[in-house]
């Protein structure tokens, strides 16, 4: 079967790719476009390690077909830092040791950024529920929640 020709925008750049109909967006990102920052922890939308933004909405790239990217705007972890300047969330995750192994970190950061764009002043409970779709097995979430709260406070002050 012929591959699908898809025209989309990824991290602000126009991108074209060919994909099989069954290929997920995560497969396309990782295998075809070399964007391996999004991780596959489960392939079933349970772990959130492949979290990306699709037209401003948080999504699991493993639950989306590559062909569905047509005409949309996708943001991945690779687009989070502005040039050499890390996003405040990225800075604070390093500063506050909000990661251990780091495999869940890209997904957590994409999800946390989505939260702060929607709610710049979340309560701890709101952060915990928003990130409930992002599994982390190393940290117990404590330092992740703190880093997100601290970043929110910092971004509100600036």
């Amino acid at each position: 079967m012929a591959k699908n020709h898809v025209t989309t925008t990824i991290n602000g750049e126009p991108v074209e790719f060919l994909c099989e109909t069954h290929e997920t967006m995560l497969d396309v990102l990782r295998n075809d476009l070399g964007l391996t920052g999004s991780k596959e922890g489960c392939g079933s939308g349970d772990c959130g390690a492949c979290s990306v933004m699709v037209d401003g909405r948080l999504a699991c790239a493993c639950l989306m077909l590559g062909a569905e990217a047509e005409g949309r705007s996708i943001e991945t972890i690779e687009g989070m830092a502005a040039g050499e300047e890390l996003h405040p969330l990225q800075k604070n995750f390093v500063k506050e040791a909000a990661l251990q192994c780091g495999i869940c970190t890209p997904g957590v950061l994409v999800a946390a950024k989505a939260l702060l764009e929607r709610n710049p002043d979340p309560t701890e409970t709101e952060v915990r529920y928003w990130l409930a779709g992002n599994l982390c097995r190393c940290t117990g979430y404590d330092k992740i929640i703190r880093a997100v709260m601290d970043t929110a406070a910092e971004m509100r002050a600036n």
């Binding site: 922890g41 772990c47 972890i77 990225q90 390093v94 982390c136 190393c138 117990g140 404590d142």
Partner: protein, 760 residues
Amino acid sequence: MAEKTYKWVGTRQPRPDGADKVTGRARFGADFDMPGQLVGKVLRSPHAHANIRSIDTSKAEALPGVKAVMTSADMPDMPDEMAPAGEVMVNLRDVTRNVMAREKALYDGHAVAAVAATTEAIARQALALIEVDYEVLPHVIDVDQAVAEGAPILHENLRTKNVDGAEDTLTNVAARIQFTKGDMDSGWSQADVVIEHAFTTKPVHQGYIEPHAAVASTTEDGQVQLWCSTQGQFNVRGYCAKLLGMETSQIRVTPSEIGGGFGGKTVVYGEPLAIKLSQKAGKPVKIVMTREEVFRGSGPTAAGAMDVKLGATKDGRIVAADLNIRMQAGAFPGAPVGPACMCSFACYDIDNINVVGFDVVSNRPKVAAYRAPGSPVAAWGVESAINMLAEKLGMDQLELRIKNAAREGTKTHYGPTFKDIGMAATLDAAKNSPHYQTPLKPGQGRGVAVGFWFNIGMDSSAACHVGEDGTVTLISGSPDIGGSRASLALMAAEELGVDYQKIRPIVADTASIGFNFLTGGSRVTFATGMAVVQAVREAIDELRARAAKLWEVDVEAVIWEDGCAKPAGSNVGDFEPLSLAEIAVNAGKTGGPINGHAQLNAQGAGPGFGAQIYDVSVDQDTGHVTVDRCTVVQDVGTAIHPDYVEGQLQGGVVQGIGWALNEEYIYNDKGQLENTGFLDYRMPVASDLPMIEPIIVEVPNPNHPYGVRGVGEVPIVPPMAAIGNAIAGATGIRMTDLPMSPPKLSAAIDAARVSEAADD
């Protein structure tokens, strides 16, 4: 020991791999590719126990795009004996059979064949074309059923004569071990109060978010390059060399960044298969497990069934302790029953102890290590029973533990006599914690439990390379699973007296640094840390020698202080201090490159003790447990990087909360695993949890230059029992079987209501 003050050790610096890991740049196992690589996929048994009569791969081989197919026939069989593989003693007969089934499939998910194809779709299609003729056999999952008379027998080589049977019959018991101390009869005769109860745990998975992944590239002259996610690249090399009949020098293993392991990435699964497929196909082969394969095919931890009996005097002195524990090894021998038995009563000073343990095989994946392997299973029974004893004695649960705590001079039931341990200090810190001093809210229950892990040393190598500008590359062979690069760099900075940022730590492949035992047992900051300190000190000796040469004095007349060579005293001469950078830039003129190397077998690991406090609320209708507050107290020796020490404590606790409340392997009546995804294997998520309050106790380990003990294992030991104890406090119901999930707890609450109503 006098309080030492450090410039770098004990500070919270950004980790050297931080930017890589927050930008998606860090390359984990599945992120590595080779040009022209093939996709490897593994065919797995749908049966829990079956003879394999034959495997026909011809249709799969004929499929266009398929470049190689393999079965166990492509690997040499191995003798039934213990052999070293990367310094771990393993039975290679079992390892080769676990990697790929031979005469029998022994669990649902057991690998039986593998293919390499140009695309994943073709590889999957090829798996479907492999015809395996199975003769399905009766199976057994539960440990006590596996030792019962008439149980299905897994192996022909396990016989009672090797255990303790008078007759020589086939058995599922691989080993029996016993530890005794004192005189049990005397102990029971002193006891005013006796508690006796049975407890069980379910198998749980380590739950690392990154599935196993490996890429192998081989050449016609027998060389192998392997990139994989592992806790021990040298152990992977050792296993693969043995399993494939190769020499270790032919195999170069490069560890990727590792997305969690917790003990589960200390063995091999797809790695030798990728190598063999690559050899057969003549192209690189990449094998990445799916999540379902991780659950079905990789090692969970052992489940256990145990009977605990404790005797105490009226005033709360424990005088006798007995544990009989049966542990499920999975399909091949090797449950962590030794550590379970040794850790069981290690927190206490008890005169009379008898511990018996059994290593039992059953039709489940072969267990792999999981954080303090064995210790949490024993602690579930022992620490629950301690609270039952406290209830019967009418004593506070923490006071009973303080009264019986292991101290300096306590002789353990497994041999060593403790010196310089922090059990008492840890319990005092728990007692004085804000948490323990805060009264419970109505409806809440509070539970306490303690835990122990030996911490280990083993082999490490390290190198310290001084660059021409005076910055330093620090090379170790210990995969960084949770911030150890930062800890190693902090110790190097402290030794060298230079800025932490001037030290760049890297994790090297098997060809670029000497042997390192795997990352596990809480050994890296201790053992690799010792190697780092020694390597840096060797470099410092060389730096001093270069300064001595420039100053034309004896090397003994030069000291190293604050990052500079200085004269040892005013009589040496009037020399301005020479900085690391100043010496480095002239290295070529004073004798060439300046490096330090060290290789050692680290002795003197310091035992680790912890105590944890939980406040829980229980929904009386649903049986749902909420952890309202949690404090984790632990003696870590010295916290080199407090953030990552806290992280280990918090992470271990939350894994324990999952183990306590939800996680379990669920099998159907055919012995097939039913919950093979994160939706049904319910690990804790952020909204399940409160903040986890860490209290770091520092009783330095005198055998380490910075007092390190090790951190990572102990935190997972107490949670299950502590939460069970808290549930008992909140509901009056003593749970004895893990997990304490809503269906089980609500059934227990309902049963208690019925029983109360009957009493009225």
